[in-house]
Every structure is written in structure tokens, then in C-alpha cells.
């Protein structure tokens, strides 16, 4: 369509109608597509040929006017109500008479929790098949630094920080604040994880977010985020939502924490417990050598007892004597002749003697 301009000297000027027609024509070249949003301000009246509604983006409140011929709308038998989640198939158009921009719906489909769940389930199956959920690494016992990805809303951040520093006061935590909700959240969290990984002494990362609606937690099931968590350089603890929520990033994380204190328990040791264990070890260190000495002493004394029992002196004490001739022990009467000089050793002292008779 040719849009004619009126020329005033070197200035080209369009009439309102011509301008609107021009824009409408330009818009009509855009493709037909699906838009997702929440139904608000649904206006349908028997005497109107068109049904109007406003489609709202629940994450940031952006709005889009939607129109649909009433007969077509009624034929869908959707019985839509405000607040419902829908997918609208259509194309943008300009209502030339008023210069109103609208999305002209060709079809509307209710997109409820069930559809979301089914889509998530398909993604889950796909990722599980690839083994994205299989890699579980052990968490470090003494992380040099803990990375914390959290929203800039104080609650989740404060809860996790408090839990960590209560359990282990000298802990060093680097916080990366980011969006944790809405369409930009998934990408922003991926970036935050990446940024923390760049810090060399970050040994573990917690991704924390308080509870929220199913939709609030959807970014944590975003494929990009799930893959980033699974492929992260350091182990990741997912502390997202509450016990009953299981976003897919939970499955890809190395550990899952249902509360901030569980997260703290996973990433830092208990300082009190460490001190207690150190004290126990110190006591054992103190006692161990003495115990060892005692055992050695007992073994030595036992050997000594046996030695004493075998002492030649003990034999002499019982009344025996040792007879020597020129230092050599005499064992047989034949070893000495009559008149030989012998030395006799007794328990106490001894004497010299001369042999009078041999037998």
C-alpha cells in the first residue's frame, strides 16, 4: 500500500489516517506467533462483536491488549476467567481508526499448571537421559571461600549468611546478587555462577532462593541454568524453595538443602564440634605416649621377673653350690683328681677346698 504524504516545501507530512494505515501495513508483515501471559480485564458482551482482554506478564507486569472476534472466542468454549494462564496465537495489528495497537488473537489455549508440569517433565527426561543429573561431587570439608548466589531481597541471603557464620564464624563468603525471579533470572543466575567460578579460592557455591509460587521457581528449571549447574567447576548446593519444591537445578546440583541451615551444614564444618574434637585429640596426644610407656614397662618388668627367676643366684639361694677348678665349672667327679684345688661358690661367699676323694 502506498502511503501518500503531503509536501509543504521540503517537509513531508502525513495525515493521521495515512500514518496509521502505513504503520498498520508495516505491522501486518510481522509473523503470526504465540504469546504467553495471564488474562486480565476480560471484556465480553453479547452486543459486542469483539472480545477484549489484556494479557499480562506475571513476572514484570508488561501488558498487551488482545482482541478476538466474539464468535471465534465463544467457539473455543474456554470459559476463561481473569488470572488464568494462556497461550495466545495471533499477530500484532493497529486499529487504524483509533491508532490502537493490539494483538489480534486467532486462537487461545489455556496453559495451566498441568501443561507447565508436562513441559518440565519432558525437559527432565531429556536431561536425565543425557546424564546431566548423574554427576554428584563430594563437597569440600573446609572451603576456602563459599560463593553465594542469591536475590537482592534480604531474606534468603541473610538466612544463609547467618546460618553459615553461626556454624563456622571464620567462614569467608562471596555473595553474587542477581535476579532470582522473572524472565531474566535464569540467564542472570548462570552469569552469577560463572562470575563466582572465576574467583580462584571459591570451593563451593550455594544457590539460594526463598520459597515462592511454582512460576516464581520456574527459572530454576530453565535448561540453561540446569546445564550450568551440572557443568560448574565447583560443587553446587541448591537451596531453592521449600522441601516440596523440586526445580530441575536441584537435581543437577551436587547437594540439595531444604533450608538455609541445612545449606550451612553442608558447606562449612561446625566450629564447636571442631574445637571439641581438637580437645579430644589433644587429650589423646597427652595420654598416648604415657600409655605406650606403661605397656612397654609392663613387658619389660615381665621379662625381668622371668630373668630373676632364672638367676643363678636364685639357684644358690636354694642351697646349691658351684664348684670351679681353675675357673672352669666342675660337672663330674672324674674332672678332678684327689688333692686338686677347687673353688666353691655359695649363695653368700664361698671357700677354697682340696679334693680328698672322687666318686
Amino acid at each position: 500500500m502506498k502511503v501518500e504524504a503531503i509536501e509543504y516545501g521540503d517537509r513531508k507530512v502525513f495525515s493521521v489516517g495515512a500514518f496509521n494505515r502505513g504503520v498498520a501495513d508495516w505491522l501486518s508483515r510481522l509473523p503470526t506467533l504465540w504469546v504467553e501471559g495471564e488474562v486480565t480485564e476480560l471484556r465480553r458482551q453479547e452486543r459486542w462483536a469483539t472480545v477484549f482482554l489484556t494479557l499480562k506478564d506475571p513476572s514484570d507486569g508488561a501488558c498487551l491488549s488482545v482482541s478476538m472476534p466474539r464468535a471465534q472466542f465463544d467457539a473455543l468454549r474456554l470459559e476463561l476467567a481473569d488470572g488464568e494462564h494462556v497461550h495466545v496465537y495471533g499477530r500484532p495489528e493497529l486499529f487504524a481508526a483509533r491508532g490502537d495497537f493490539r494483538f489480534r488473537a486467532l486462537s487461545i489455549e489455556r496453559f495451566g499448571l498441568g501443561d507447565h508440569l508436562a513441559a518440565l517433565e519432558r525437559l527432565k527426561q531429556k536431561l536425565a537421559h543425557e546424564g546431566v543429573f548423574d554427576r554428584k561431587r563430594p563437597l569440600p570439608r573446609f572451603p576456602r571461600r563459599v560463593g553465594l548466589v542469591t536475590g537482592n531481597d534480604a531474606a534468603a541471603k541473610r538466612d544463609v549468611l547467618t546460618a553459615i557464620t553461626t556454624r563456622f564464624p571464620p567462614a569467608r563468603v562471596v555473595v553474587a546478587e542477581t535476579y532470582v525471579q522473572g524472565p531474566r533470572a535464569a540467564g542472570a543466575i548462570v552469569d552469577a555462577i560463572g562470575a563466582l567460578c572465576e574467583i580462584p579460592d571459591v570451593d563451593v557455591i550455594i544457590v539460594a532462593r526463598g520459597g515462592g509460587s511454582f512460576e516464581d521457581l520456574l527459572p530454576f528449571s530453565d535448561e540453561r541454568l540446569v546445564r550450568a549447574v551440572a557443568g560448574c567447576r565447583v560443587p553446587i548446593v541448591s537451596a531453592v524453595g521449600h522441601e516440596q519444591d523440586t526445580p530441575l537445578s536441584d537435581l543437577a546440583a551436587d547437594a540439595r538443602a531444604s533450608t538455609p541451615s541445612v545449606a550451612a551444614r553442608l558447606v562449612v564444618p561446625d566450629a564447636d564440634e571442631l574445637c571439641e574434637r581438637l580437645e579430644q585429640t589433644r587429650q589423646r596426644l597427652h595420654h598416648a605416649p604415657l600409655l605406650m610407656l606403661e605397656r612397654k614397662r609392663a613387658a619389660l618388668e615381665s621379662a625381668h621377673g622371668r630373668l630373676r627367676a632364672l638367676s643363678p643366684r636364685a639357684t644358690l639361694d636354694r642351697g646349691y653350690a658351684i664348684v670351679r677348678r681353675e675357673g672352669a665349672i666342675v660337672r663330674s667327679g672324674g674332672d678332678v683328681g684327689t688333692g686338686a684345688r677347687v673353688d666353691v661358690e655359695l649363695a653368700e661367699g664361698g671357700f677354697g677346698a682340696t679334693v680328698e676323694e672322687t666318686r
Binding site: 605416649p289 610407656l293 619389660l300 630373668l307 632364672l310 643363678p312 665349672i329
Partner: protein, 68 residues
């Protein structure tokens, strides 16, 4: 000679005396040797105990006070 060597030899001496394999002369020599070994071991144990107690008391004095 280490404590362990001395202790091992002492045990061997005692065993040999107990089995009665040694003749009296040898037994006397062995017995004397055993007695020497015993005294040597005892001395080493006593000095080790002294050192350990010394160290332990030093470590104790270095221990930080319990936090309130």
C-alpha cells in the same frame, strides 16, 4: 643400641635361659647380659617418661583459656 633392640635381646636371653639350652657358664654370662639389658631399658623408659611429662606440662601451659 635402641630401646627396641635391647628389649628384643632381653626377651631372647630370657627365652634361652628358660629353655635351659645354655650351660651354666653361658647361663651366667647370659644372666648378666640380661640384667644389663633390663637396666638399660629401664633407664630409657624413665628418661622418656620424664621428657613426655615435661612436654605435656609445657603444652598445657600453652593452651588458650576456654572461651567464655
Amino acid at each position: 643400641m635402641t630401646f627396641e633392640e635391647a628389649q628384643k635381646e632381653l626377651e631372647a636371653v630370657v627365652r634361652k635361659l628358660e629353655t635351659g639350652q645354655a650351660d651354666l657358664d653361658e647361663a651366667l654370662t647370659l644372666w648378666q647380659r640380661g640384667d644389663e639389658l633390663y637396666r638399660f631399658c629401664l633407664g630409657r623408659l624413665d628418661s622418656a617418661q620424664g621428657k613426655i611429662e615435661d612436654l605435656a606440662s609445657k603444652v598445657d601451659s600453652l593452651r588458650p583459656a576456654e572461651p567464655a
